[in-house]
Symmetry: C2
Subunit: 250 residues, 2 copies
DNA sequence: CCAAAAGTGTTGAAGTTACACCCATGC
DNA sequence: GCATGGGTGTAACTTCAACACTTTTGG
């Protein structure tokens, strides 16, 4: 992989990857979208999921990591496959067709995409736009109403998969900084499940799992009682799950 | 779709679908595999999942239904996507390369596959081999140790997805005949989860869901106390789940 | 009458839900 | 001293796990 010099002609014109990048700013879930900077007459400049064609000899997972880095500068993150999307009508918006003409050698090729979702610590990097992404921006999930191609549909499926996954694997920590408070974790779960969770019950439940380490360290500079800081305890998590435990309930 | 006359040249050389068809014979889970009837010198004649290239203008889900019917004669069944598999080394077995040469126009093309799993009532049809499938056979899941391409890996993932899915949606009924007994359902769940479930607890739990209709009809001709027959109650299931209920536990 | 699977209830432990007040800090 | 979010316990209820015997049929 490393050091390959790949040409545009090594691209597989029929297959792409698209990434739904979730972030959490302690208030809401956000999704990283790119702005293709189209200046179009009558059609809308819709945002898109970061995604692109894969190379002929490239693994799908690898392609997802690569594309993500190329378009946004993000690397080394948690990725999970959502599935394959191959509706022949994925490209039925005028603005999408025009855009493809401007960046692809074979703009009319039928493209099947493998979608991924990933969870990132929103502060670990400033998303930088690269390549054809004129801007890369965090957009609140709740405000997204329309996207390029079939990306809105992909987003809905990704959201659903995330909800299911977090019930059987505590992947939420990927969205939080190394050190976090129970309230932040609580808020995160509420945002993902899109419903309120009782504070005391949540705390009891999560603490019973014994996968948090209390850092014996407090928040500083907050205008209220400072909160304990915790970190995810990877070792205890391994112990817990090595016998097939997968009930993270909620 | 109907009436299209499609030529071999309309095939998309880079994309295929593969189907993991699960069946249940009241004793164990079986998987429908095809035998490509290779007569090879030193390499094994491995069985494969039914699958084939898709057409250029064909939806993935549709392609899965079509390929399945073409290779096995099965139609109108429950299908669920497993995901996209695109490891460039999927074809690294000598026997697979030779076989592709014999059936494909572009045997060396890199192929990304969308895998599906499906649940069928094993007695609803006799699988018939068609096309390049020389035989289509039900093989016990527990006896499958090696398959063509990356099909064994696909099978493992499909099995895992099925286990997860049946916890949140009672899809098991697709594997049983219209009329079935609680013992058959019980055995089915044990086979899927690969672990014993307490008989009384299972019955209580499933009956509390209120998605079974007691047909007030008994098994006949069995050399033991005949069992009540039940059918799946679709209406009650809709009522149960319309408010988001998805705890079919186990 | 024997073999085979069907069918049934109880108890103790664990988990779930709902709910209200005091605490520590910055300003 | 006030506003803000942090942190805690209990009681009623529901669910879960474990467990053994009687029933009905065919042969």
């Amino acid at each position: 992989m490393v050091g390959n010099t790949r040409k545009k002609t090594d691209l597989n014109p029929n297959n792409s990857v698209d990434c739904v990048i979730f972030g959490f700013d302690f208030e809401q879930i956000k999704v990283l979208l790119i702005d293709r900077g189209q200046n179009l007459g009558n059609s809308k400049n819709l945002r898109a999921l970061p995604g692109n064609l894969i190379y002929e000899e490239e693994d799908l997972d690898e392609a997802a990591y690569r594309v993500l880095e190329e378009l946004t500068g993000i690397k080394d993150i948690y990725l999970e496959q959502v599935g394959a999307f191959g509706n022949p009508n994925r490209v039925n918006k005028e603005s999408d067709r025009e855009w493809l003409k401007s960046i692809r050698d074979e703009p009319n090729a039928r493209v099947i995409t493998a979608a991924y979702y990933s969870l990132v610590k929103i502060d670990d990097f400033v998303p930088r736009a690269h390549s054809f992404a004129k801007k890369a921006e965090w957009i609140p999930l709740s405000e997204i109403e329309e996207l390029a191609f079939d990306h809105f549909e992909i987003l809905q499926v990704a959201k659903e998969k995330l909800k299911q996954k977090i019930k059987i694997q505590p992947i939420g920590f990927n969205l939080l900084p190394e050190k976090f408070t129970l309230s932040q974790l609580h808020k995160l779960y509420e945002c993902i499940f899109e419903k309120p969770l009782d504070k005391r019950n949540f705390r009891r439940k999560i603490q019973k799992l014994n996968i948090l380490t209390n850092l014996k360290e407090k928040q500083r500079g907050v205008p209220h009682k400072p909160s304990q800081l915790y970190k995810f305890n990877e070792e205890n998590y391994q112990l817990l799950t090595q016998n097939g435990y997968d009930n993270f309930g909620f």
